[in-house]
Each structure stands twice: as structure tokens, then as C-alpha cells.
Symmetry: C2
DNA sequence: TATTGTTATACTCTATAACTATA
DNA sequence: TATAGTTATAGAGTATAACAATA
């Protein structure tokens, strides 16, 4: 039974964490058959929006250590989704590009993401989803969360 | 700039994951000075609501492997927040209880949680927080998320 | 001397399965 | 023989720091 009056608890913050985790977990399940993980998707997305960027740039955008990026990029490159091209100005750095297959993968991911959202938000109609989006966006802006960048890239580990 | 018409993307599902992660991360930071982690808090909370339960029971409630529980319980017991008492009926099993210090810790955690929620939801007024809570609760119910049980107990690992 | 990307190392946390003591 | 809790082991993933090539 919920308290209707009195000192407010932290139900909302906990609900946010619960539902947010559920969203991440279901999404991870949905892309697993593509042999992709959420960080893979985040990397592909950022590269697609800023092609030619260096691994350094990518690390800054995602707040990831460059050394942690290497393994992800190796795998994406081996699978032909992403390319490391020599940088014209600096032979130390690599310019990152999506391959055609990488762009195709992003389209598939987009479709999967929409299905995922429909499943997750099945309890709400369109108007309610719009309401929810607006409220969450206000929090995200206030919390200085960069659009399209998941804060989990930084440190990892949620409950423990 | 947001698309006002056309095929919907998955912005809402991503926003939920972003804000949910932010909630979890900020909460973890807030309780870190108490030398507690979110799973510690989850355990204390469940025990407080069902004192006398066994480690087996606790594992089922949290969807955690019993072997994973051991280290958490060891630490909480050593710090005097939780007690393993002999079970009257079965000498194999332990009945879990909070100590007075454990109950005190939960009060502190409750205060911290409210501060946390106020910080996280600073962009919204009371009415808006109520709206948001209702919408999220509808999703949580539809997704069969148990009240007060974080789905992250199960498997862990969000971005990867 | 500083910087880009890579590799090496140590550490944390987990699931699985073996183990003990009771039942 | 089965069950409660514990311990052992191996694996996944990370941050940190050392490293080679280039600037």
C-alpha cells in the first residue's frame, strides 16, 4: 500500500533505475543475436555521426579510456563494420569510418531499437510516451547527460 | 532538433536507460561514504522486510546465486549491520536479521535516498514527479518488475 | 619532450561446480 | 539421497601504467 501523504521517499529515483536497467537489459538481449553489445552500438553510432574522427576523439566523446576502446574497435574492424584508415595529417592516428556493412548494421539496429521501445513501453499510449519523453528529457538536460551518449560508458558497473 | 512527425525512433527507451543509469550511479556515489554499495542496500532492505528469512530465501527474492550472497553477508555481518542466527528448525540454514545498527543504517540510507531523488529530479516540480512516477509504475508493472527489487541483481553488467 | 594507439599487468566481480554438514 | 551454505576455480571485463611509433 502506498503512502498517500507524508514525507516522500525515493520511490521515483528507484523506479527510474529499475526501468532504466530493464530497458538496457532487454536491448542487450535483442542485439545479442547480431553479436553486438550496447557499447558496440554506441561506438557505431558516434562514428556514424562524426566519421573520420580519431580513437582519441572517440574516447573523449564516450568518456572511455583509449586502451579500452582498442578491443572494441579491433572486433568491429575484423567483422567488417568499421574501418581504421590512416589519418592524412598525422601518421600516428587512425581515422574511423563505417563500412557499408556498418551502415547497414545501424539500420538493422534502428529497427530493433524501435521494436524494443514498443515492447518496453507497451503499457503506454502515444500521448503518454510523449509525456514521459518530455519529463525524462528535462531531467537528462538538467543532469547534463549528452544526447545519444550513455553515461554507462564511463565507468561501468551498476548495482555492483 | 527533434522530429515532430514520421517514424518514431527509440529515443524514449534510450532516455530511460540513460536517466536510470544516472540515478543508479549517483545513488552509488552517495552511499559510498557509508562503505555500502547498492546491492548491500538491497539486501538490508529485503531482510528488514522479511526478517528471519534464510539465505536461500534471500537469493530467490533477489534472483541472486547463493554463492554470490555469501561475501555480501559476510561483510554486512562483520560490520555489525546484519546477523546470521541459527535457524530453529534446520541447523543447516541461517535466519537473517538486522541488528539495531543495521536498522539505524537503513534510516540513514532513507534520508540519503530522498536527497538523491531531490537532486536527480530537481528539474521537475512535485506534480510532474507524480506524473512521472505513475507513468514509470505502469511500465514497471507491465514488465513484471517486482516492487523494491532491482532487476540488476540478476545478472549485472549494463553497457557491457 | 609530448602524443597516438597498443600491450601488459593486476584487480574486481561473477558463475559454476565441488565440498561440508546437516537433513 | 537431497538441501543449505561455503569455498575454489576459472572467466570476463576493467583501469593503470608501460611501451613503440610518430610528432
Amino acid at each position: 500500500m502506498a503512502r498517500s501523504t507524508g514525507k516522500p521517499g525515493a520511490e521515483l529515483a528507484f523506479l527510474l533505475s529499475q526501468v532504466g536497467y530493464q530497458s538496457a537489459a532487454l536491448f542487450a538481449e535483442r542485439i545479442a543475436p547480431l553479436e553486438l553489445t550496447p557499447p558496440d552500438v554506441g561506438i557505431l553510432k558516434v562514428v556514424s555521426e562524426a566519421e573520420g574522427l580519431s580513437q582519441q576523439d572517440l574516447g573523449v566523446k564516450l568518456s572511455m579510456f583509449p586502451s579500452r576502446l582498442v578491443a572494441f574497435l579491433d572486433q568491429l574492424e575484423q567483422r567488417g563494420l568499421l574501418q581504421r584508415r590512416p589519418s592524412p595529417a598525422d601518421r600516428r592516428s587512425h581515422a574511423l569510418y563505417l563500412s557499408p556493412a556498418g551502415r547497414e548494421a545501424l539500420k538493422t539496429i534502428g529497427r530493433i531499437s524501435r521494436e524494443h521501445q514498443n515492447q518496453l513501453c507497451a503499457a503506454l499510449n502515444e500521448a503518454e510516451r510523449g509525456q514521459l519523453t518530455k519529463l525524462l528529457q528535462r531531467i537528462a538536460d538538467d543532469q547534463k547527460l549528452a544526447p545519444g551518449i550513455h553515461p554507462g560508458f564511463r565507468k561501468l558497473q551498476m548495482p555492483r
